[in-house]
Amino acid sequence: MEYLANAGMLIGIYIILAASYNLIIGYGGLNTIAHPIFFALGAYTAALLGIGTTLPSVVCVLAGIGVAVVASVALAVTTLRIEGDYLLIASLGFQLGLLQLVNNFEFTGGPSGLSNIPVTITGPGRGWLYLLICAVLVVVVVWLIWRAMAGPFGRAVRAMRDDELACAALGRSLITMKIVIFAFGCGAAGLAGGLYAYYFQYISPEQFNVAQSATILTMVVLGGIGTTWGPLIGAFVLVALPQAITFMQLPSSLVGPLQGIIFTVLVILFLFVRPHGLVGRREAGVAH
């Protein structure tokens, strides 16, 4: 049962990550892949405050969200004048640079990470209680994104994605819109990080590397970029299917690589068989 709760938590956390990333890349059209670093900032801030202070866990997670938002605004202000592939690579440099800092500082635990994150909920129902909290947060994040994108702001964001010049001509401030969606999406990633740190009680820099960028990006694209349900389904499929292999009683040294192989093969298969995503439509406006 504990295993199911762990898998459920992972699915929930990845849904928050994929949905918030979809807001940035799918609705906003901002090609950044630095999402895992905001996930990391949320996780590390919450974990460090949890270890070093007596602040309640909710405050630590909120602080994690705050740090992620501030960092995202810093990235947005410096890089949003470049676009396309260049923004993609700049965001990669930002992510790897910050990750290198996390890797080298002693107070972050260096490459070994942090393992003494305090327990906040104890008892046999811990996993299920966390899962309930996670499910509520998933619903809140997805609803907020859906609500925002269904209204006038969402239409303006999509207009900006489709034609920046026309959108600016209508009197919209593109930079403000970009910063708002960037900050909201990255704040949600910080929330996912706080949840991850408190539930799994162990974080290390390698959990937030380029492979994580590819994972979240893949969930969004394979689910259906720019759709409400796509990232949810993408996260569910790509977390749940590779987990199936853990029931095969294989040596632990084989499980990791085999899960990776299943994941990557699934991605490549979906890219060629269903390039517009599981719930996306061919005419959605995004070239596949």
Partner: protein
């Protein structure tokens, strides 16, 4: 004041160490120029090249030339397969840059997972020892590996330059790089140019991996870091300028080498990411290169007035 011999030693070692960075960078920059593709799949090709050499030389004890040859053949074959069965399909569908990015990155990850399953995560080298004989020239230690690395790199770059400038296929590659549709109207096969650039990149990657793998330990996740270094050098050198990217790779290697005078070694990698980030933000099209131009001939009137 630092001893000049120490500075010379750092300079020499930095130049020698830049050899494989240069080869990886040129491979990446060539593919980017000809195919307009940020080909992160080259990390997968590096993994295939290294472990083919490692397996053929250490497990089945082939002679080095045969092991390296096998790596070249296999890497080039995989490069062709990826081009024909994946990249060409995505190109036909007019896929977005994001889809190419995902595919090439995921392909590299797939290769890394397969290699982890086959060879584990322990660092391996192509030969059991990474030591090579050293001679002292003017107080500077020069190893056989340094000389071999520089020799291989210079020869391969010279061959590539000749190939691009003085052969029809090379010029066709440049034509496709400039405008693939227009090149095809003139009867140039873009498909052939893409395949050729992929094969050349595979050869450069094999040479770079050989040099790297005879000097340092490799694990299946090392190649992605090497590709990122190539990306940084390509961006600093300027997109579409293959040999400028090579010079940028040397510059970045020297920057890293000399940085040990000022910062601890563990921060060297951070330096590269800062360069990448600020190079992109300040010079999104690469650092501008000012060329010395010949003075324009004076207009006839001006010449006449000057004569008066």
């Amino acid at each position: 004041m630092t001893d000049p011999v120490i500075l010379l030693q750092i300079l020499w070692t930095g130049i020698a160490m830049s050899s494989y960075f240069v080869l990886f960078t040129v491979a990446f920059a060539l593919t980017l120029k000809v195919e307009k593709l940020w080909n992160f799949a080259q990390a997968g090709l590096m993994g295939i090249a290294f472990y083919t050499m490692f397996y053929t030389l250490n497990a089945v004890h082939w002679p080095p030339w045969l092991g390296v040859g096998a790596a070249v053949v296999l890497t080039a074959a995989v490069s062709i397969a990826v081009e024909v069965w994946a990249i060409a399909v995505l190109r036909r569908r007019h896929s977005s840059g994001l889809i190419f990015f995902i595919f090439t990155l995921i392909f590299s990850q797939l290769v890394a997972f397969v290699l982890t399953l086959m060879f584990g995560t322990e660092p391996e080298t192509i030969f059991p020892s990474v030591m090579s004989p050293v001679r002292i020239v003017g107080g500077v230690a020069m190893s056989d590996w340094d000389l071999q690395a520089l020799g291989v790199t210079v020869v391969l770059l010279a061959v590539l330059y000749w190939l691009i400038r003085h052969t029809r296929d090379g010029q066709f590659m440049l034509a496709v790089a400039d405008n693939d549709k227009l090149a095809e109207i003139y009867g140039i096969s873009a498909k052939r140019a893409y395949l050729l650039s992929g094969i050349i990149a595979a050869v450069l990657i094999c040479a770079g991996v050989y040099l790297y793998g005879t000097r340092a330990g490799v694990t299946p996740d090392v190649p992605i870091g090497l590709v990122l270094t190539a990306v940084i050098a390509t961006l600093v050198g300027g997109l579409g300028r293959i040999f400028s990217a090579a010079i940028a790779a040397v510059g970045l290697a020297l920057l890293q080498s000399f940085s040990i005078l000022f910062i601890p070694a563990k921060w060297q990698a951070l330096l590269l990411y800062f360069v990448l980030f600020f190079a992109l933000v300040l010079f999104p099209r690469g650092i501008p290169v000012w060329r010395i131009r010949r003075a324009k001939p004076l207009a006839p009137i001006a010449v006449a007035q000057a004569g008066d």
